[in-house]
Every structure is written in structure tokens, then in C-alpha cells.
């Protein structure tokens, strides 16, 4: 293997249980986003656009779709002769099967993957976030600051700081303390779960952590506090721009709606920072004569015969005559029948919504509805009584 300056390790084994039925058969990084993408496309595209061509993707939970989606990485130009993308599932050793019990243990189990490239730096990423970031700038910063570890941070509103892992820093951005979801935050710089380690430090501390029976083998809970305790040089890298954890149905919906803003911070149309994905190769969308489409993002293969207002539609979606889809996200190949009304909902892939169905939030709730087969069955009597 040729030596690499920096190897990326992408943690993609998350279950994303707060995404409810969306992640029943799907790892969170494979959840569809933005009319065409899956969440992991953003991190993989960031790697390619930042000039990082060696990426280990750690998978564990429901990996079928994710693995076949990543394939040999050609969609992101990561099908390389030397390096490229490698999917790293947990594996069995002669004595036992070693599941990834935490983020640190996942990397620890794959130290030999990193070793073969003998890198100077290791970039640790999570496949759960929507953002565009140039990792090579962060690496320059890491080198310039002469850091052992650099952690990317983003300013969050003070009122929300207690929901995040908060970095307490001095004026030189050196990290003094890390607090996971502090009740009384002293700072508003939240960790984005993006770390650059000097390879020697990472190896040493992961080995140390693996020997500690008390450890939960998590970067945030165990490894970072240990490094601070040992007075290693940890530096915060301030990131400015769009960054969103789409861990809940509501935040996934919000992030999709963000794309519809006129001055959207996350510009998908920027040719200099393309977000790559596996292209579905479907014909252009067809907007019928009586259709109305406004303030929406619509992907190829869609057929629109009704009204689509302020919504995101993935490939192959069909909206029937007389139907209204408003403030919603409709995932690939969903078929919305005729005279359907959908408002503030996420419609998952491949679902069929019968004619006359009405899905809207109850006035008293600020809830986003995740449409499921069970929900549609419950709707049945209402549809019948409406005299369809």
C-alpha cells in the first residue's frame, strides 16, 4: 500500500432509533434526504471534494442497503486503485465475535486497516449529519496549531447548548474541558463529532481505552476526557455554515424544508462543491397540464398531476389528480393517489396512499406526521365516511 497523509474513518453503524420506522430496515446514514441523496452522501462528497481518497466506512446496524449503495464508491469517485472506499463491518476473531460497542471500539477494531496506509493523520467522521465542509482546511488548522487532536465545533444558540456536547475553550481555542449535555453550559461551542487525530496518539489512546473494562469505548464519553486528563493538546476548529443533525423525524423534515428557502445556506446547485450520489437514472419529471408546482424540489422520474406546494419529492414519485401535497417530504417511488391531502408529513419510500386519504397535523400539535401502513389503515373508516 502507498502511504497516505490522511485516512478518513466514517462511522455509519448508527441505528437512529429516533427516526422511528424510517430506520426499521435501514441504517441512519442511508436515510433519504433532499430529494435525491442519502444522508451519507454529504460526508462522502465532502471527503472527495476535500481531496481525501481513502475512506473506511464502519457499518453495523442494518447494513444491506447502505453496503449496496456504497458499492465500490464509484458514485463519489472513490473507486481507487490505492485507497478508495472500504466498507468495514464487525468481524469474528478466533476466540469471539467483536461487535462495535462504541465509536472508539469501532475504530479500535480496525486499527490494522489504518495501519496499512501508515498515515500521519486520521479524520474521524460521522455519517449522520448534513453539511458541506472542506476537511483539508481543518487539517491545515490542525497542523498549524500543532495539535494532538482537533475537534470541529459549531456555535449553537445558548438556549440549546445543553442539548449538545460542549467544548470549553480558552481564547486560543485550546480545549480545557468537555461537557456532554451540561445543565448549565459555560460555552456554546458544540462538538460536531468530527475529529482529526495524529495517528500515533489515536493508536496509543485507543489501545489504552480498549484495556479499560470501565470504559464505554466512546470518543465523547471516554477517549476525549482521557486525553484531556493526560494534558494532550486538544484544539477546537470553529466551523461556520450549515450543519444539521437529522436524528429525529422533525429535524429530518426541517432540514428538507431548509432546502426550499430562497437563500438556502446549503446550496446543492454549487458546481464547485457537488454533492454526489448514486444516480437513479430515470426519465425527466413530467408536470401535467393541470398540475401546480411551487416552492419545491423535485427529482427525476416524478409524475405530477396534482398540486405540490413547498415540498421535497424524491425520484419516481407519482402525485395523482386533485391531490394536494403541502409542506411535506415524499420519498422514492411513493405513489400518492387521487384527491389526497397531505400536509406536514414525511411519506416513506414505496408506500401507496389510497385515493381520498387525508393526512394533516391536528391543530394543537406542532408534530410532523410520519406516514406508515398502520396509519393509512386507521384512516380507512374516515375515507369511507367522507363519501368517496
Amino acid at each position: 500500500m502507498l502511504k497516505k497523509k490522511c485516512v478518513a474513518m466514517l462511522l455509519a453503524g448508527g441505528k437512529g432509533s429516533r427516526l422511528s420506522s424510517l430506520t426499521k430496515n435501514l441504517a441512519k446514514p442511508a436515510v433519504p434526504f433532499g430529494g435525491k441523496y442519502r444522508i451519507i452522501d454529504f460526508t462522502l462528497s465532502n471527503c472527495t471534494n476535500s481531496g481525501i481518497d481513502t475512506v473506511g466506512v464502519l457499518t453495523q446496524y442494518q447494513p444491506l442497503v447502505l453496503n449496496s449503495y456504497i458499492g465500490i464508491g464509484s458514485a463519489w469517485d472513490l473507486d481507487r486503485r490505492n485507497g478508495g472506499v472500504t466498507v468495514l463491518p464487525p468481524y469474528a476473531e478466533s476466540s469471539e465475535v467483536k461487535w462495535y460497542t462504541g465509536t472508539a471500539s469501532a475504530i479500535y477494531q480496525n486499527l490494522n486497516y489504518i495501519e496499512q496506509y501508515a498515515p500521519e493523520y486520521v479524520l474521524i467522521l460521522s455519517g449522520d449529519h448534513i453539511y458541506k465542509m472542506n476537511y483539508s482546511k481543518m487539517l491545515d488548522y490542525h497542523i498549524e496549531k500543532n495539535a494532538d487532536v482537533t475537534i470541529s465545533v459549531i456555535e449553537v444558540p445558548w438556549s440549546e447548548a445543553s442539548r449538545f456536547g460542549i467544548m470549553n475553550t480558552n481564547e486560543n481555542m485550546e480545549i480545557l474541558q468537555f461537557e456532554e449535555k451540561p445543565a448549565n453550559p459555560k460555552n456554546n461551542l458544540a462538538s460536531m463529532g468530527i475529529y482529526i487525530f495524529n495517528w500515533s496518539i489515536l493508536k496509543e489512546y485507543l489501545e489504552m481505552d480498549s484495556r479499560n473494562p470501565e470504559s464505554s469505548h466512546d470518543f465523547g464519553k471516554d477517549v476525549i476526557p482521557l486525553l484531556l486528563e493526560e494534558k494532550k493538546r486538544l484544539v477546537a476548529y470553529p466551523f461556520r455554515g450549515y450543519w444539521k443533525d437529522v436524528g429525529t423525524v422533525k429535524s429530518l423534515w426541517e432540514a428538507n424544508m431548509d432546502l426550499l428557502k430562497e437563500d438556502c445556506e446549503l446550496n446543492l446547485f454549487d458546481h464547485s462543491w457537488r454533492i454526489y450520489s448514486v444516480n437513479p437514472n430515470q426519465p425527466p419529471q413530467y408536470i401535467a397540464h393541470d398540475a401546480i408546482v411551487t416552492e419545491s424540489l423535485i427529482n427525476e422520474g416524478c409524475v405530477i398531476e396534482g398540486t405540490v406546494e413547498h415540498s421535497v419529492l424524491f425520484q419516481g414519485v407519482h402525485i395523482g389528480k386533485g391531490s394536494i401535497v403541502k409542506d411535506s417530504v415524499v420519498m422514492p417511488d411513493a405513489v400518492v393517489g387521487e384527491n389526497v391531502y397531505i400536509e406536514k408529513a414525511i411519506v416513506p419510500s414505496n408506500i401507496e396512499i389510497p385515493n381520498g386519504t387525508i393526512i394533516r397535523p391536528e391543530q394543537s400539535f406542532d408534530e410532523i406526521i410520519l406516514v406508515t401502513k398502520e396509519l393509512l389503515e386507521k384512516q380507512e373508516p374516515e375515507r369511507m365516511s367522507s363519501g368517496e
Partner: protein, 342 residues
């Protein structure tokens, strides 16, 4: 029974009536149906019919065609065994412009000599349809034909099936037989070969003039027609572009139109075909038109019955009008200013 076929796409033909769309590209590379090039249809049909070895014979202006096809990956033709072959004509002055000219094939006869496939399918590059060539081959074999010609409503689609060995015979002995192309053989009756017709009943568009390019494009807006052409089980492949989904703003009004990815629609679009990454500005009204890739239409423009080639910039407030019989064609890469067409 050996049912393997070679796919041979003859892209040597130049048709004057398609200018100015062919000024920078060969006919095979003319953009069609919002995101495709004409060759995508015949090539996808071949791949969907199980053909694994495709030879393309281009002659004029094939840079854009080569760029489009690349290694053949998008058609699953980047194979170790067989795959996509590109055989440009070494001589532009050869006078044979019938489809299936043996002179062109002779220049690369090794391909035919080395291939193991029993049958060869020869097609032009500008016939748009969604056809299963295995059905044609089945009939060809059942009826013990020597050459089968595919037709639509009696008109030749310039698609022929014959045994590779017969094709080689015809190529090698062309000076003795005086048959210079496959068309010469099919049209002549002085030989002993059994020539059969296969009538294809699905939708067909033969693109051989600007008028019918425009008319056939507009036909695609009929759901009955695009459903036939874009069969989900027999997809048409093309070069993928990583464009984001198309964005419609609050002012957008779109009716009866086919719109590809990566567009930004802020105006009014009706009965039109919009290719990938096109921008339509505020207050602009586009009707009965075809706007090709990456063209930018400014604000408050009025476009009716126009074909706008790739990379055209139409400045704010421009009016461009053609008629359904004579669409107004704007050449690739030009700028249309407000005062230019008065």
C-alpha cells in the same frame, strides 16, 4: 441454439436537414428528451436485449459522442470480455453514406473476425424507440431468414439482423457483388438470400430533420407516448450528471412539460422540454419550446416555438418566436441580447 448478437451502430451519416444542431456534434450525439442523446436509445435497447458487445462506427464530429459514451460504464458496457468499441472512420472522403456501408466495416474487419457472436444487429443512431431485439432475432431464426429488416408502418427503421458470417462475406466480397451496404443487399432481388421484414408496432421517432426533431420532441409530452418510450423494466440509460433535483420557486408556473434535473424554474413553462441545469428567470414565459442543457434564460423573456441548443444565454427581456412548422433554432453557446433579433 446460439442467440448471441453483436451490436453495430452506424453513426457515419450526416444529414443536412439537422443543421444547426449538428454543427458541433454528430447526429448520434444530438440531445433529446430532456436528458438523453439520440444514441442512448439504440444503445440501451441493445443492452436491454442482452447484447454485450457493441461497436460504434462514427465519422464526423465525434468528440461529444466519445465524451458522452466514455468507457460505456453507464450502459454497463465497461467489460473485460466484450463491451463497447469505438471505430472512427479513418477516411472522411469515402462516398458511401448508406447505413451499413461495408467500406466502413472493412476498415475494422478484425472486430468481426474476432467476435464469437453468431448474429449481428446493424442499426442507425437516430431512431428513437424502445424495442426488444431478442424478439426480432427469435423471428429471424424461426423463419430461417438470411437478413431481417425492422420496419414501422412499412417504413424501414434501418435496423438489420443477419449472421456475422454472412456479414463478413458481404464485407469481403463487396467488390465482386457490387453491394456496397446492407441497404443495397436488402433492396436488390437478384440474389438468393431470404430477406424478411419485422414490423415493430410500438412508438418510433426517426430524427432526420429539424422539423421532425421538434415534432417528435413535442409528442413526448403525451403520457401515452412517454410511457411507451420510458418503460420501467427496459430503462434508457445515459451519462449521469450528479445534478440536484429541480427547484421551483413560489412564482413558478409549469404545465404539460418535461423537466430534467438541476434546473431552477422561476418563470412560466408550458408545453416544453427543459434539459438538465437550465435556468428560467422570473417573469419569463416559455411555450412550445425545447431548451437544452445549461442554457440560461433571463428574466421577462418570451419564447415560443424555439429550440435553444446547449450553453446559450438569453438576456433579460428577449422575445424569440418560431412556428410549429419552422421552429427558431438558437445555436450552441451563443448569447441572445435584447436588441439582436429586431
Amino acid at each position: 441454439m446460439n442467440k448471441t448478437m453483436l451490436g453495430v451502430i452506424d453513426a457515419t451519416k450526416y444529414i443536412d436537414a439537422l443543421e444547426p444542431l449538428t454543427i458541433n456534434r454528430c447526429i448520434a450525439a444530438i440531445p433529446f428528451a430532456g436528458r438523453y442523446r439520440l444514441i442512448d436509445f439504440v444503445l440501451s435497447n441493445m443492452v436491454n436485449s442482452g447484447i454485450e458487445s457493441v461497436a460504434i462506427f462514427p465519422k464526423y464530429q465525434y468528440r461529444s459522442l466519445m465524451d458522452h459514451l466514455g468507457s460505456g460504464k453507464n450502459w454497463d458496457l465497461n467489460r473485460k470480455r466484450d463491451g463497447l468499441f469505438f471505430f472512427p472512420s479513418p477516411d472522411l472522403n469515402m462516398p458511401y453514406d448508406h447505413i451499413g456501408a461495408f467500406e466502413h466495416f472493412e476498415q475494422h474487419v478484425d472486430y468481426f473476425l474476432r467476435s464469437k457472436q453468431k448474429y449481428a444487429l446493424i442499426c442507425n443512431s437516430y431512431t428513437v424507440c424502445n424495442i426488444d431485439y431478442q424478439m426480432v432475432l427469435k423471428r429471424h431464426i424461426e423463419n430461417e431468414c438470411d437478413i431481417t429488416e425492422i420496419r414501422h408502418q412499412g417504413k424501414s427503421l434501418e435496423m438489420f439482423i443477419l449472421e456475422t458470417s454472412l456479414l463478413l462475406d458481404l464485407i469481403i466480397n463487396r467488390n465482386e457483388t457490387r453491394y456496397m451496404s446492407i441497404v443495397d443487399v436488402v433492396r436488390d432481388h437478384r440474389h438468393q438470400l431470404k430477406i424478411c421484414d419485422y414490423e415493430y408496432c410500438g412508438y418510433v421517432a426517426v430524427i432526420d430533420s429539424i422539423d421532425n426533431y421538434f415534432a417528435h420532441s413535442m409528442e413526448l409530452l403525451h403520457p401515452m407516448i412517454w410511457k411507451q418510450l420510458f418503460d420501467k423494466l427496459r430503462p434508457i440509460y445515459t451519462k449521469v450528471k450528479d445534478e440536484p433535483p429541480t427547484k421551483y420557486t413560489g412564482e413558478a408556473v409549469v404545465k404539460n412539460s418535461m423537466i430534467a434535473n438541476g434546473c431552477m424554474i422561476e418563470g412560466h413553462v408550458e408545453n416544453s422540454i427543459i434539459f438538465r441545469a437550465v435556468k428560467v428567470g422570473k417573469g419569463t414565459v416559455i411555450k412550445n419550446s425545447i431548451i437544452m442543457q445549461k442554457s440560461q434564460i433571463g428574466e421577462n423573456c418570451e419564447l415560443d416555438c424555439v429550440i435553444i441548443d446547449k450553453d446559450v444565454k438569453v438576456e433579460n427581456g428577449v422575445t424569440l418566436r418560431g412556428t410549429a412548422r419552422q421552429p427558431f433554432v438558437i445555436r450552441k453557446g451563443t448569447v441572445q441580447g435584447a436588441l439582436m433579433n429586431l
